[in-house]
Amino acid sequence: MYRLKFDENVCVTCPTSDCLFKCQYIDVDRDTAHNEMMKIIKGEGSFVLRDCVTCYACEEYCKRGNHPFYLITERREEKGMLTASRAITNQWINMCAPQGKYRVGEVKEKALSCCFIGELRQMARGKLFEGIRSSYVLGAEFFCEVVYLHFAKTSIIKERLPKVIENISQLGIKQLICMHDECYGSFTSLAPAFGIEVPFEPIHYLEYLYDRLQELKSEIKPLNIKVAYQRPCSSRLSLDKYHFVGDILALIGAELVEREYQGENALCCGEIIRMTDRDEVANDVQKRNIDDMVESGAEYCVFNCPYCQMALSEKVSKRGIKPIHIIDLCKMAIGEKKINKGGEKNERYL
């Protein structure tokens, strides 16, 4: 059975307790942060287990390589603590269960993983994906399982992730370009943390995009726009790749505006918080986040995760900010997509 590699001594000797001290959803001083983490380590009750909104950020706040969020998730499950209702939790468990409805392209040693998100397959078009588009996998059989962290169900991850990795390996894939950074986080953070071997090289799609844009540099026309970036929760699992957001934006002439809720301080898109039945927290987080984008003068809100995009598109549009996925933004820079002057239509259905 796969077990979480967690070194409690790392926490015992931690001088900062940043994992909880920096949490934007739980207000604690350093002593309380330390004490609560100790309780969690010992398997005792803690209000943190109740109040954690599953934003993943503590995985980034911990600079000592431990996995505070994975531990919180493990403890929640051990204690039978649900984040969302049983019905919603089971809905997600069933929804992403392998059912033999996957799609596999003409897979080569280097392939795209579109996870279980059809939109990502649609996005993988044009010059940016020339030569790689047809080599892809898509479906529950290749689903990275990270979402079950939100539902405090690491048991599902331990059960399904090894099989997903096996499915990918059996196709002869040596390098997997992860179109969703949850997938990248799954193979580079989650799997190793639980001792699950990954026999292929995961490549973050942002890194792939950056390299490809370098090749297409002569075709780039600077966008000269101001953008805010909506950092997704799973980005906390792939810190080493975060710089590619800035690198890409600089390359295509998009100015990343300075704002309060960026980088380490980024706010969740809110919808997972809502699904775990904290609608008031979700509303507050979304409002603060979008207010911040507006105040910073952003013209576009750039998304990395399609689900963040679904969560916030309509809301940012209403505030005059155009929502766009970073892949589409890159397509704009090389002239494959028109610059959106009017804002995307996201009105409610009348």
């Binding site: 649900l82 969302a84 209702s85 049983r86 019905a87 919603i88 089971n90 809905q91 069933n94 929804m95 269960a97 059912q99 919808e271 809502r274 699904m275 039945d277 609608d279 679904m310 598109s313 309509e314 209403k318 996201n346 409610r348 259905y349 009348l350």
Partner: protein, 460 residues
């Protein structure tokens, strides 16, 4: 060429009468499970006067007549069980007028739901009517004649409760106005404060007269509309959840559904609810009230709101919902049987369990769906099966499953909605004898020759 045919041609014109085999084939059936039976004639009148003449002819010759809208009740109500004349009302599709300030429309008896919806969207964008989740071709008159329900059922009751006047051709051919229009040019009330005679025609499945015109109440149409779906794995909690939701008086329509496939829906009961508003503030206030009303269930993790992704929303916000037609053909072969007893909401848990058991017993694909009628006053619980018309064994299983489902509903205090002939008989066997006697008196007095949709509501 028969005299009847000639007479019908004289009344409606040659192009609007048929005895052609190909056409009689279609008028002999509906998409449900009931056995087919061909009519002798089909006629499509254009005016009330033509309807009167046809009825007078039929009454004189003692020929059965079956008034027909789109024929989509799925329970065989327009199958001419004793042959005769099918009167297809679809040519009478005029929208006579709309009184915007008094919020009602007057339409002819063959006007479709889709036509009125489109007309209102074009000309009165602030008004709407209660659209049933049936194809847009279904007619408004037929829908109220079977006590249909629609998108506004939770707020305002059965669609027949929204009738504001009737013009009816009686089985003897006389034209009769019902409600305020009987003494006033205005069609604002189907009965009150006069004796309410609309009950002589609504719910009678076309056995007491033919609706040639009706007034229909319209309602405010808000600029924005959104959907939320509350999901629980405990069917026993559904009545309490609905009680809390209806208490808010913030919701437009409430549907409950459960199904075995796709597996993301397995084991859960989904309560789809719609909220509307003219402004964001109104919509968000209602959303908050709705969320708050279910806090006790959320806190216990007994249920939660699912994230309805933007790509899913059009499916749920469609009016009517097209997704039902997808289920209707899941087994291919065009068969879809759908009864919908009206029951108390507290009966939902046992009806849901029973439907699942019956479907499993007969190895059938089922869809459990219910719609709240009024502020929790009742619900329509659909017993729906899809089947392959080319598979007689499957059809037999559907028949048995449907019978068991409806019997169970009746045993638990339910009454039928758009019942098949067999379900009508089952209902009448359970009715108070004096109620039956009254029904008989009404029928015999209105239809002395028994020509109106014979075989239906036959009180013996």
């Amino acid at each position: 060429m028969s005299d009847i045919y000639k007479s019908l041609v004289e009344i409606a014109g040659e192009g609007h009468v048929s005895t052609q085999t190909e056409e009689l084939y279609f008028y002999a059936r509906d998409p449900g499970l009931m056995p087919t039976h061909k009519p002798d004639y089909v006629v499509a009148p254009k005016t009330t006067e033509e309807v009167q003449k046809i009825v007078k002819l039929a009454n004189k010759e003692k020929i059965p007549i079956v008034p027909m809208g789109a024929g989509m009740a799925l329970t065989g109500l327009i199958i001419p069980l004793k042959g005769g004349i099918v009167i297809d009302m679809k040519r009478m599709r005029k929208i006579v007028g709309v009184n915007e300030k008094a919020r009602h429309a007057i339409v002819e008896g063959g006007t479709s739901q889709g036509a009125l919806k489109a007309y209102l969207e074009r000309n009165y964008p602030n008004l709407r009517h209660s659209i049933p989740d049936a194809p847009p071709t279904v007619t408004i008159a037929a829908n109220v004649a079977i006590h249909g329900q629609g998108r506004l059922a939770q707020q305002y009751g059965f669609n027949s409760d929204m009738v504001s006047g009737l013009e009816v051709v009686l089985p003897t051919g006389e034209l009769c106005k019902i409600g305020s229009c009987s003494m006033s040019p205005d069609w604002f009330s189907k009965g009150p404060t006069l004796p309410d005679l609309s009950g002589l025609f609504l719910g009678w499945l076309g056995t007491t007269g033919i609706i040639t015109k009706l007034g229909l109440k319209l309602y405010p149409k808000k600029r924005m509309r959104d959907v939320e779906i509350f999901v629980t794995d405990r069917e026993d909690l559904v009545p309490d959840i609905l009680f809390n939701l209806t208490h808010t008086e913030m919701v437009e329509d409430i549907n409950i559904w459960f199904q075995a496939k796709p597996i993301m829906f397995t084991g859960n009961h989904h309560i789809t609810l719609y909220i509307t508003g003219d402004r964001d503030e109104e919509l968000e206030f209602k959303r908050k009230m709705v969320w708050d009303s279910l806090k006790e269930f959320r806190d216990r993790k007994d249920g939660g709101f699912m994230w309805v992704l933007p790509a899913m929303k059009p499916t749920f916000l469609d009016m009517p919902q097209k997704s039902i037609t997808t289920f209707a053909d899941v087994k291919k072969g065009g068969g879809f049987e759908y009864s919908g007893p009206i029951v108390l909401i507290e009966k939902y848990p046992m009806l849901a369990r029973n439907l699942e058991e019956v479907a499993n017993k007969y190895k059938l694909a089922y869809s459990g769906m219910a719609r709240v009628i009024g502020r929790g006053h009742a619900m329509m619980f659909a017993i729906a099966f899809t089947f392959n018309r080319a598979d007689p064994n499957m059809m037999e299983r559907v028949k048995k499953a449907g019978h068991e489902g409806i019997t169970f509903a009746f045993d638990h205090g339910g009454i039928p909605w758009k019942p098949t002939v067999e379900e009508q008989k089952m209902a009448m066997e359970r009715m108070d004898p004096n109620t039956l006697k009254l029904m008989k008196m009404v029928k015999e007095n209105l239809d002395p020759n028994g020509i109106m949709n014979p075989g239906n509501w036959e009180v013996n």
